[in-house]
Amino acid sequence: MIRETMTPQQRVQAAIDLRVPDRVPVLPLQTHFFACRYKGLDGYEMVRDVERARQAHIEVFYELGGFDGQVIPGISYIFPRTLPGIVREPLFKIPGIDLPRDSIIQHDEREILQPEDYDLIADLGWKAFAEKYYNKFNPRTAPEILAWGERQTAKYIEDGEVWTERGVPVYQGGEIYSPLMFFSMFRTLQQFTLDLYRRPDRVEAAMDAIVDDFIQYGIEQVSLTSYPWVMLVLERGGSFYYPLKIFERFEWPYMKKMTEAWVKVGITPLLHFDQDWTLNLPYFKELPKGCICEFDSATDIFKAKEILGGKQCIMGDVRASLLTHGTPDEVVEYCNRLIDVVGKGGGFILSSGCYVPVDAKFENVKAMIDCAKTHAPVG
């Protein structure tokens, strides 16, 4: 065991500030589903049986020996208290309701917005558009949607308190999609991609019209708790999907504007990079200091260290399938390499690549956590 001289918050903050912590911090991302499955809850119970799910989550945290805090305290969302602040959240398919009872929550990606909506959003602004057309996103009445948002927020705050009253820090207070991610999810990848070629100016005008509201939602979410991070959800704008000329016009300016605005008010942006962003890495040198670049194993995290080392905090990236079907020895081997290479000189948080999968092996998750506690970067 490495002798610890910092609190979990100090350790994590040291990594964000690109300093060398007492040991590499470890923050498995979203352990709720994994913990619930491990304790025998099915997909429906994980989502609907709040008390049993919370209990499972807590027990598993301690059985794992604890780690440096919960990025996300449970599975609910925190929302600003307005209709436009709520309906921007993509819909999910729920186990036991829309899916078989023992499956997992999955995004329901459908063509909810139409091409003409770009113009409406650009002309009206996001708030007026959402106030008028909220039923495009959600069939319920406005009071029902607002009440649902209130319940989600209250549950999020309760989930957070469950941890903080035990001395376990919670980090994430908000979650926002980049404009590109938002339109891609509500138009579908296929249609949105065609829009980028067929009506690029209209897409850009709509993005310009929503970005300030989305920045503000992040600030409002964080103000509802004391948790200082906002996750900026990114997947669709990277080099897996698009050439750099598309990224440069439709993703990068907004990503930069959002992170700069949040850092300015003391928020830590957690840039959640799903899929492969390797070709985009050089741009991220220009992000404001104080961000976390979190990768899911598709981006080359070692290349990220070469390019972003000393400039941005890097987080990741133990592949989900290694946690589910690898052995503890294989997990240890990979984590040690991450700590040695990406952790060298500080600025690194060890984590799962994206969420800890529901069917991860307990011993593999524990092996990842123990690595951070026992293995110091070489040199």
Binding site: I104, Q106, L194, S297, S321, L322
Partner: protein
Amino acid sequence: MSELVDAIVSLKEEEALEIVRYRLEAGEEPMSLVEEARGGITIVGERFQSKEYFLSELIMSGEIFKQVMSLIEPKLTGDIRTETIGNIVLGTVKGDIHNIGKDIVASLLRIAGFEVFDLGTDVAPQTFVEKLLETGAPILGMSALVTPSFESMKDTVKAIEEEGIRDKIKVIIGGGMVIKQIKDYVGADAFTRDAAEGVAICKEFIEVTQK
């Protein structure tokens, strides 16, 4: 490179459609336009495989091809099918609704000359088996993104075994999370996280099965 091929490769949708309309009106043989358009998307596919083009270019060129074909098809009198290099049954497995990776592979396989029987997403093991029997395809491609779906891949391989056709079918699995351990767990013959590599493996499978 003809004007039509160039318009498809440079993703100029209106220009491509204008050329096709003009040449059809001028009385040109529709089948030669089909061949040219196929030549265009073949170049896009090659550029995607060599990492020069991205997914967006594959999607856009596929859409242009579709539009071009919708102009040409009413003028065609005969059968437009051409020789294929082999059949493949493809789908995202039960419990998983992610389609992006599967769709990329389906596009590239078609460009490479395969007849693709795409069963969509959330496909049950027995549905795969029935399609394999119906088409006589020697290759099964299964896709999944979320880790619990690996069980469905395993179940599907088991269903093929129980049907007594496992030795006639080559099984390849794909998806962002697939690693060698998953291939072994599922009992597949190959795995890939890269669409272009997946197509190359399928071509090798066809060569082996045709020997």
